[in-house]
Symmetry: C2
Subunit: 555 residues, 2 copies
């Protein structure tokens, strides 16, 4: 993006948007605005700088970490720079909306936001200052919220379709905003930050953080081996243990010890078990009752609970104070291998019920490729995605905290039921480029390209014929509503073509004296291998048809 002249970095995670980049932003904003308006949402504009008091009402002033940029004004009063605007819109709603007759309503803004990321990265993908469309719906009840949510879901689907992006709606973890029921929209790209678990045979898709994992073993087999302690010197991970004992990795169990600090007394300990070839899912782990705020156990805590160093821990004979939680798959294993709680030793032939008590069973692992799809429609695959949109059912979390109520038909005050809906405007530029590029530069979808067509004259200043033809075609295409640019910089052809391939104009027309001698001009799509010679008399119609076809292919 920097090379293509779209943006320039000012400081970490803070960018200037140059004219070409701004033009793409405006196209993105317009698509969003049109579809939000079509969905009945109402645009307004909330301030960047917001008073701390509102954020104290919901507790987010204290709860949010340093990514919330807190500032003091000249009178030493606390303010912040908005990362989102739930508090301000809820304040507005409680002041403006009195009656059930005014509901439902959905307000949105397209506004600069700031999140003070510790490590801004991936250019504008995870910048600190960025532009976001944020919408907030207010309904009378949960049923209404579900309708408003579906309307936004459909609008988002139209928005990303119109942008010409390959995307997928995925079930999401709810994150810090809270509430229940949310989906993310991801642009599919190999470089994406998020892993998406999806079923190729169905609509099922979920962020790896949130994707449900079923048990891989339908029922527990009967015990067939006696439990036995075996020496496993210096074998501190499942892969090494399996190799050393010559057993499949799938018969081993990994034991992880976590601690949750208590207000007084020693920390409460949890031992989490996943199969040797699986990974613990930290988001799922955080939802284990009592584990919302956990940390790895210290060496001293491990020693006290298991009397062994990390690498040799296991659920057999662990201190009774430790809550043992087994992943669904582990719970159905028989004759498995795990640490012996004795340095340099593991246990084999371990069986639930016989050798140790039945554990608490929960879904706590990451899904892997080939897992059964939770919707029963086959097995899942995993791809990478860039989150560009998020729809949330917030419920009454903010409205109850802030006293945002309406009078129902019986005249009784009820909290409004809220949803919120975000789209990362500037991030969409980065995502589109991650999805569409080659070694020459950007391959924009037609609806996002800074220009649809570039006219490249060969000798604009030298040949009057070239100039005349270029100027006329430029004017005619503009009049036909085509977003066309005439490159009158008098660069050499090689440099000029390279620039426009880098910038990513979807179509290029080259006009030179040589072709004009035969009344021919060259036409080339950005991803075409070769250019075509087109009769001059037909080029205008050719360009218009090509742009329209490109637009229709994504509509």
């Amino acid at each position: 993006m920097v090379r293509a002249g779209l943006i320039r970095k000012l400081s970490a995670g803070v960018y200037n948007y140059l004219p070409l980049g701004l033009k793409v932003i405006r196209k993105v904003e317009n698509i969003i605005r049109e579809e939000m308006n079509r969905a009945g949402a109402i645009e307004l504009l909330m301030p960047m700088i917001q008073p701390a008091e509102l954020w104290q009402e919901t507790g987010r002033w204290e709860k949010m970490g340093p990514e919330l940029l807190r500032i003091k004004d000249r009178h030493d009063r606390d303010f912040l720079i908005q990362p989102t605007s739930e508090e301000v819109i809820t304040d507005l709603a409680r002041n403006e909306i009195k009656s059930y007759k005014q509901l439902p309503v959905n307000f949105y803004q397209i506004q600069t936001k700031f999140r003070d990321e510790r490590r801004p990265r991936f250019g504008i993908m995870r910048g600190r200052e960025f532009s976001m469309k944020d919408a907030y719906s207010f309904d009378r009840d949960v049923e209404g919220l579900k309708k408003s949510y579906q309307i936004m879901f459909d609008a988002y689907t139209r928005i990303f379709k119109r942008m010409g992006l390959q995307f997928r709606a995925v079930t999401a973890d709810n994150g810090a905003i809270g509430g229940s029921g949310s989906q993310e929209f991801h642009v599919i790209a190999d470089t994406g930050e998020d892993a998406i678990v999806y079923c190729p045979n169905s609509d099922y898709a979920a962020n790896l953080e949130a994707a449900e994992s079923l048990a891989l073993i339908a029922a527990r087999a009967a015990a067939s081996a006696a439990m036995s302690k075996v020496p496993t010197p210096d074998k501190t991970n499942c892969a090494d243990v399996a190799k050393f004992l010559n057993v499949p990795l799938e018969s081993t169990v990994k034991s992880l010890l976590f601690a949750v600090d208590q207000e007084s007394g020693p920390a409460k300990l949890f031992m989490l078990l996943v199969r040797g070839d699986h990974e613990l899912n930290e988001v799922k782990a955080s939802k284990i009752p009592g584990m919302a705020e956990s940390r790895f156990a210290t060496e001293a805590e491990i020693k006290q609970a298991c009397n062994a160093p990390a690498g040799y821990l296991g659920p057999v004979g662990v201190s009774a104070d430790v809550t043992v939680v087994a992943d669904r798959t582990v719970a159905n294993m028989a004759d498995f291998v795990c640490g012996a709680n004795d340095a340099g030793h593991h246990l084999t032939g371990v069986n639930w019920g016989r050798d140790l008590p039945e554990p608490l069973v929960l879904d706590i692992r990451n899904a892997v490729i080939g897992d059964p799809s939770p919707d029963g429609k086959g097995v899942v695959d995993i791809c990478r995605g860039i989150e560009v949109g998020h729809v949330f059912q917030l419920g009454t979390r903010y409205s109850e905290a802030m006293g945002c109520t309406y009078l129902d038909q019986q005249g009784k005050a009820q909290p409004m039921v809220m949803g919120c809906y975000g789209i990362g405007v500037t991030r969409l530029l980065g995502a589109a480029i991650e999805q569409g590029h080659d070694e020459k530069g950007i391959i924009w979808p037609i609806s996002m390209a800074p220009f649809e067509v570039v006219i490249c004259p060969m000798g604009y200043e030298k040949s009057e014929a070239v100039k005349a033809v270029c100027d006329q075609l430029h004017g005619e295409l503009l009049a036909a509503g085509i977003d066309v640019i005439l490159d009158d910089r008098n660069e050499r052809p090689g440099a000029m073509f390279a620039d426009w391939e880098l910038i990513g104009a979807p179509f290029r027309v080259v006009i030179g004296d040589r072709g004009l001698a035969d009344s021919q001009v060259e036409f080339k799509g950005r991803t075409d291998a070769e250019s075509q010679n087109i009769p001059l008399a037909e080029i205008k119609a050719k360009v218009i048809a090509a742009v329209q076809a490109a637009k229709q292919s994504i509509a």
Copy 2:
């Protein structure tokens, strides 16, 4: 604006823009954008949050007062929220522009700004967070700058004309941005914060701060009276002294003592003299050599310099350390009255050269109505204005401080010569309302109105005929490009009419069963005393013609 549902205050000087207010902002932005583009300026977008380092290069980080909101990020690095963007654009230019071939160029943005005003007031007129269009021109030389400046001046003239505002371009003081040569654009309104001195017979107009005042007395008359000390008990201002002595106020002189602190030793004192009926101009006073940073003298300093309390000060016999500066008019006075430097006494018959040394003569007073116009074309009048635009010739102040140079045709590095050009987008809303309102509400110029036309149905839900006619007219006017709204709220007529007069829709169509019985509807301009009955068949053409006529009247 709050009553009309345009804005809501969030905190001091920080506002939410509700849908109607945002719609006006968008109209204003579009006019600005079209005219900036027409003038060849290029839109880009700079960050809200800017690193302190750039502002340290120009010294503004230290120089600007607490209205610059300084912040620290999570890594304790210094940032600020942009009040303007000279530093960032100059940084961009020094990185992007290398050759004289790339000049001239003019970049602009329409962006949120923040100035931490001590006392935000007048609603959005002097808010803390506001939207501003800021443009920055870069030229090879001063001659080029003058051209770029004139292009912007002309663009601004078109912009404010298209908005349908009564405005005046006035010579301005340069303020904190520095540089030389600047003009302000003021919307004329009785409630304006600024006083504008203008000549009804010419283009001359200047902010009172900057308006030159000529001497009101062409030549000094010969002395005709002896200097004499007279008792003036308890008469400490010129008006009381003139009345007590029975002399015209115009024969008295007011003496004001200022101090300028020095790095070491006592403060340097200045006695400024203006005629009894005139006011000192503080901006002009700050330009007296050595007086850039002055304060009123303390009682002790007054006592030491004049040996008298305030109210009885005068230039005769003042300590030799005090620099006496007389306004041009005072310098030409003869036989005047001033304080005697003796409590309870004034001097009469005072004459320059005879009773005291000739003073330093400068223009240090405020212009008053009836003063001769500095352009010699009559006498001036004074009106009040609201500054909505400002064009500056910055010169090389920023480019030299930041090393922003280009290579000239000889390959030699030269500092770029800059101009900067601002328009207060959100302030324009307030200014338009200050200029156009009555007791019923806002009278928008057609080009700024949130809607051009409102259709008010009498019984939209009750009468199918009314609904059908309203819906059809609404659709037809929309199709004709009219910005029309149909009020389907089913309010009672009185409340509905009052709302739309408050909001300020320029034209109103009322459709009800009674009129339809005769195939008539009502049409009324916002400022018309009475509505007209129009045949239903003609109303569409009538509305279109009225909107077009209103647009043409301001084009």
